[in-house]
Structure formats: C-alpha cells, structure tokens
C-alpha cells in the first residue's frame, strides 16, 4: 500500500512539474465545460433570419409576418422565390417562407417553407418555432371563423322565432273562414215553385168568357194566397241570408284584417329569411377542414431530396479530417520532437521552414488519402456521380480545411512537451471546434457575441462550404469568403507552427 501511495505521489509530482501538462490536464476540461456551459445554457434561438417572398402580400400574409417578427426572428422580404432559396444556401437566411399571392383563408393555397435539410438538428428546431407562431395565427383565424358561424346561427334562431305567431293567427283565420263557409252552406235556398199555370188558365177563362164568376175568383184568390205564402217563405229565407251575409261579412272582415297582419308577418319572415340567407351566404369558409386549420403549410428542402447520408456527408467528412488532422499533426510532430534525429535536423544547412512545410505536406497527403477512401466508399454506396468541376471544388475546400486542422495539430505538437499532453490538447481543441459548430447544437442557440466569434470556426466554415458545393452545387465564386477565411487560418497557423518550432530549439540547447 505504501508503495502504491508512493507511486501515485510520484506520478502527481511528475504531472505537476510540467506546467503545461498540469494546466491542460486540470484546467482543460474545466475551461471546456465552462465555455460550453456558458454558451449553450439557453433555450433561445438568436438572430434567426426568415426570408419571405410573395408576389402579392395579403393582409393574412402580412399578419403572419408580423407574428414572426419578434426577438428571435428577423424577417427579410426578398424579391423572388429563387433569391430566397439562394439566401438559404448562402446562409443569409435560415428559412424561406413563400406566401401564395393574396393569401387568405378562403383559398386552399399553402404557405411553403424552404429549409436546408442538411442542418437536420436546426431545421426541426426552427420549424417548430415557426409552426408555433403560425399555429397561434391559425387558432386566431379558426376562432374568428367559428365565432362567425355561431353568430349566424344565433341570428337565424332569433329571426325564425317570430314565425310562430303567424301560424296561430292563420289557424284563427282559417276557423273564421270555415264558419263563414258553414254559415253560407246553411242558407236555405229552396223556394216553393209558384203555380202560375192555374192563374194563367183562369185569366184565360176570364178572357174567354168575359164572364167573371165567383168560382172563377175563388180559385184565383187561392192561387194568389199560395203565391203570398211562397213569397213569405222567400222573404224569410232572404232575411236569413241577409243575417248570414252580415255575420259572414263580419267574419271575413276579421279574416281580412288578420290576413293583412299575416301578410306583414310573412313579409317580415321573408325578410328575415333573406337576411339569414344573406348572413349564411356571407360566411366565406364553410369547409370544415379550413375552419379547423385555416392556414396550410408545406415544407420543401432547398436541395433535391436526398438520403440522410447525403445530408450528413459533409459534416462526417469534416469530422474525419478534423480529428485525423489534429491527431496526425500533433502525433507526427511529437514523434519528430522525441526522435533522436530531431537535433541533427537543426544543424543541417536546411532552412527550418522546409521542415515545417515537409511535415505539413506529409500529413496533408495522409489526410487526403483518407479522404479519397471515404469518397470512394461514399460514391460506391450512393451510386452518385459527381462532375469533375464539383469534385475539384470539393478537393479545394477539403485541402484547405484539412490544412487548417493539420497545422493546428502541428502547432499543438510543437507547443506541448509530451505525447500525453499533446493528445489531450488535440482532443480538447477538437471537442471545442466540434461543440461550437452546428453538429451537436446549432450555433443559432449561442448568444450573439459568442456566435460572432464562433462563425469563424474553421469546422463551421469548411462544413458550410462543403454543403454548398455538394448539396447546392454552388460555384466557388459563391464561397469565396469561406475560402479566404480558411486560407487565412492556414497562413496564420503555419506561421505560428513555424515560430513555435523555432522556440523548441531552446529546449534542445
């Protein structure tokens, strides 16, 4: 046990005796965690730019834009759909929203979102955020539409309610008319037929004989009596009819009055029904699905649909050259430094810069060889064919990115005194570059100040350039800035590596 403790004590003494080793071992992870913790301890997305285009912005599209314009999103109106798509490719906007001309809830047109699906982790975060904004608007619209329907129903209900009184009035009128009809049918129209034949015969006898006799007048008087009787009966009947006529006239006047009121009511109902119909006709959205979901959206990728491998390929390639470059650079330099021959190199009539150049070329050749293998396998799997021009562009970006990482590794190798610390240094740098890229979390989750620095992360620069070339077929002219940044890194790191190597001479003396 004592021996174990002694060995452990010795190991710690050795570790702490090398200041750089102690620093990297003890403080390295701490700094890494602090940086990452500080940077990513947020749920917000910062400075998300949304490009929008519509040949004719409607009130609805404008209101959606207003909804989107808050702290997180900056909306940029673009002149054309293609330009908007191009801006995604150049990372000037993160999502492109195309509003159909004169977008309104009546039409079934869809709002199209163009996204860069190669940024899988970012796309879904941002779409989620935008969708929630649009869903809010959609809910508002849906509520308004439903309210409109309910109002119409209420109005209709109120207006139709008044139709009930007309029916009772009509029933009453109908009873009155029935009574009149009954009264009229009850009129006795039978009249006893007067026997004017005997009168005519007697009158004839009178005329024939000119001899008036009592018998002859008796008979006449009887006839006249009959006529009187019949007349009396007729007068009675006419009197009855007159009575019926009065009552019928009264009833009919009542009915007339009621019908007149009913006509007014009917007109009112007719008017109400017309209003209800107008009201109903004025409801623009009657389609259930449109009421439930008044805004339809569609998501389209800016590049041609590809497999997930195609989308992630640029990142994977960059990941490989990041770690291969860092470790190859640091290991090869460390091996050279530890080599017995290191000193002899310094005393030959050879410019020191040549050693750095040769070391760099050796390492980059190995990295490029690895890339050739990766590309070969990739092309074999995807059966894709890449144009020579595109291939050359890819090669340029990979050469520059690989050079940055190799030189970074070489710098680490020249800086540190032992292989162990150089390895920890390489891992730390690699992790840092990886964490502050879009691979694990989108850099849009970083605060602006950090993002302003992180956007120059060579991993991000290389990855985005590679995506532009591979996924969007962008020409080199469109990624010149990235090329300059990477080239700048190459020059800077080369100078640093060279200067650091010169300083290692002191360790040899």
């Amino acid at each position: 046990m004592i021996k174990i403790i002694e060995i452990i004590k010795k190991n710690f003494r050795l570790l702490l005796r090398s200041r750089t080793s102690a620093l990297i071992v003890l403080l390295g992870p701490l700094i890494l965690m602090l940086l990452i913790g500080f940077a990513f301890n947020t749920t917000s997305l910062f400075d998300i730019k949304i490009g929008t285009y519509s040949s004719s912005y409607s009130e609805l599209s404008s209101s959606i834009i207003t909804k989107l314009e808050d702290d997180q999103f900056t909306v940029v109106k673009v002149d054309s759909e293609q330009k908007c798509i191009d801006m995604i490719k150049s990372n000037d906007v993160h999502v492109c929203t195309i509003f159909p001309p004169n977008l309104n809830v009546r039409t079934s047109d869809k709002i199209t979102f163009y996204v860069d699906k190669s940024r899988l982790n970012f796309v879904y975060i941002i779409l989620d955020r935008i969708s929630s904004k649009i869903a809010t608007k959609s809910t508002e619209l849906s509520t308004a539409l439903t309210n409109r329907l309910l109002t119409s129903i209420t109005n209709t209900n109120a207006k139709l309610g008044s139709a009930k009184t007309i029916s009772s009035d009509l029933e009453s009128s109908s009873s009155s008319v029935a009574k009149v009809t009954s009264d009229i049918s009850s009129i006795d129209t039978s009249v006893t037929e007067a026997n004017f034949t005997g009168v005519k015969d007697e009158i004839k006898n009178v005329q024939d004989k000119n001899n008036f006799s009592s018998s002859m007048f008796t008979k006449l008087r009887s006839l006249i009596t009959d006529i009187e009787t019949q007349y009396g009966s007729a007068v009675a009947k006419i009197t009855s009819i007159a009575s019926i006529k009065d009552s019928s006239s009264k009833s009919l006047n009542e009915v007339k009055a009621k019908l007149s009121g009913n006509i007014q009511d009917a007109k009112e109902i007719e008017k109400n029904i017309k209003e209800v119909r107008d009201d109903i006709n004025s409801i623009e959205i009657k389609d259930v699905s449109r009421i439930v979901s008044p805004i339809s959206t569609e998501i389209k990728p800016v590049s041609a649909e590809s497999t997930n491998l195609s989308y992630t390929f640029p990142t994977l390639v960059l990941l490989v050259i990041l770690f291969a470059g860092l470790f190859l650079g640091s290991t090869s330099v460390m091996e050279e430094k530890m080599s017995k021959a290191y000193f002899r190199n310094f005393i030959t009539p050879t410019k020191d810069i040549l050693f750095v150049v040769a070391q760099y070329i050796s390492n980059i050749m190995i990295v490029l060889l690895q890339l050739i293998i990766i590309f070969g396998v990739m092309l074999f799997i995807t059966k894709a064919s890449i144009a020579i021009e595109v291939l050359l562009n890819i090669f340029l970006i990979l050469l520059l990115s690989g050079s940055v990482f190799v030189l970074f590794g070489m710098l680490i190798g020249y800086l540190f005194k032992s292989s162990e610390t150089a390895n920890i240094g390489a891992i730390s740098i690699g992790s840092l570059l990886l964490f502050f890229s879009n691979t694990i979390l989108p850099i849009e989750t970083l605060p602006r100040a950090i993002r302003n620095i992180v956007q120059f992360n060579p991993f991000i620069v290389g990855e985005s350039s590679l995506k532009k070339i591979i996924l969007f077929n962008e020409p080199l002219m469109n990624i010149l800035t990235s090329i300059y940044i990477l080239a700048g890194f190459v020059v800077l790191l080369f100078i640093l590596a060279y200067v650091t190597r010169e300083l290692t001479k002191r360790q040899l003396s």
Partner: protein
Amino acid sequence: MGKEQPFVQLENVSKWYGKSLVLDKISLNIPYGDIFGIIGKSGSGKSTLLTTIIGFLKPSEGKVYFQSHDIYNDIREVQQQFGFAAQEVSFYPRLTVSENLQYFGKLYNLTTKQVKERIPQLLKLVNLGGNEKLLGWKLSAGMQKRLDIACALIHEPKVLLLDEPTEDLDPILRTELLDLIKKINREKNVTVVLTSHLLNEVEYVCNKVAILHDHKIIASGTVNELKENYSKEHEVGIGLEEGYNEEFMNMVKKIPAVKKVSVRQGKIYLYTNKGSEILKKMLGVSLHPNKKKFNVVSISLSKPSLEEVFEELTGKTNLSSSHDDKENEVKSKYDEKLNDVKDIISKTSNIKTK
C-alpha cells in the same frame, strides 16, 4: 590551409542562459587537421561550446570564425562544412542505416549520385559495411555511435565535432571508436574537435587540448605542452608481471617522495617530484635478489598524465570520479579486465620464453 593557422577560432565567446553564465569569454584557436580535445567536468559548458561552434547557438558575446569568416555571415555554408555528433546518437531509429545516411545526405545538399557513392565508402570507414538495411534501433550501441558519426560525415565536412563520443560505451567499444576518430582524421583529413571528461582518452587521441573549467578555458596547447607547463611532478610507471600486487602497492606508498599511487591500464603509477630517485629505487627493486616477489617487467619515467595536469589546474582530485561514479566503475572494471588479459599474455610469453 597551414597546419598551425586557426581553422576555427573563437574570440571572447560568452553565452548566457538567462542569468546563468555558461561560457565566459572563451578564446580558442583550433588548427586545421588536428584532433582537438576539450576537457572539463560535466556542466562546465563543453556541449554548449560545441553547439556554439557549429552555429546552433548564437553566442551572447564574441565571435566564432571559420577560416577567418564569421560563421553567422553565412551559417548555411558553415553548416555544410561542419559535421556534428552529439552525446546521444541523432538519427532515425526506424529508418535503416542507408536510409538515414541518404536522408541526411539530402539535407546536406548532396545529389542522389553523391549519396549513393558515399554511403558504401562511409559504411566501410565506420565499419558498418553489410548493415545498410538494418534498422537503426536494431544496431548495437557501438554501431549506433558509428552510424551517428557516419551521419555527421555524409557531407564530407571539414570539421567534425564530437560531444563526448565514448559516453556510455564499454571500454572495448571506446577504444574502437577512438581509433575510428583517428582514422577519420587521418584518412578524410578532417579536423576533429571532441569533448570528454575521460582524460586518458583525450590524451590518447588528441593532439591539442583545451581545459574548460568554471566556464572558462584555463589552459590549452598540445598534451605535452600542458604537461610541461602545468605539472612539476614526474610519473613513474611500473609494470608487474602479475599486473597488480597489493603488497607492492603498500610498499611504494611508504616511500616518502611518492605523493600518490594509482593503477591505470594494468600499470602502477607513482607521482613524485623526485622522479630519478624513485626510478633508481624501482630499478633496485627489480634487481633485488628477492625480485621474484615483485616481478617487475617494465619501468618508465615520464611527465604525468593529463589527469594530473587537470588536477593541478583545477585543484580537483579526480575528474572522473568526482563527476561520474558510473564512469569510474566502468573504468576500474576495464582496468581489472585489462590486467587479467595482460596477466594471461605475460604468462603465455613466459611459457614461450621458457
């Protein structure tokens, strides 16, 4: 280039590492064609001095001249003329012998043809012929040292600087290497500058010597000049048939004029300022009737070794033992072995005589 004209010249060279002074106004003339030894204890600045001569380190003060030209005026040209083998071998262990030579040949601006011509010659010179395809790390310690020297010679330098070349080698390999240095000096006409703290070796191989002590050159000249100038004593060397005899040692230690007794390479050395008196006594011993007790086979009288000069100048008792116990241990083992060998040889010759 005249033999005595300075080939490499140091003029008031001082070197500071921060606040610590490593070389203090060193002035030195190294003539063309010599094997020049720089002796001094560990930490005296020997390696710094050599690396300053080849231009790897720039002196804080003073100048270094090569053929009367300041080496920093054209350091690349000077590097082309200098070969250097550090204390530790400096080649790629995972490259073969010929690959190492080819690599360094190219760094010294040789053409492929030149490299191809020189490799066999050089390997022959350093006795590594037939080992071209062996990986560096597979070579024995002596072979590695010779390959290292070959790497330093691939560009045919005019000056070869060797920093403690026999360090960590066993006695037999040391002798081989010292002979190789002589051979290189002789056959390649290369001026050799070497450092060592093994004074007998320096004495064995060097024409001229400079003593570096407390970061200064305290004496320089030929070995004999140093002995003449800096030692008033004589060294009486006595060879016994049996090599070493404790009784004889005790006897000579009791002689009042004898200041010190030491054993070196199988011989007993007495140091005295009455050399002739002691010589007579020893002759008396050898001629004494009881001489069979101490069978003296040789007696010599000379100025003392370089070690005595060094002691005289620096006031140190023993350069080797004071600074390198391991070295001393190896040395005594070497002496013992040598005594054994000589004993056997002596006995064999006696048998033959009989």
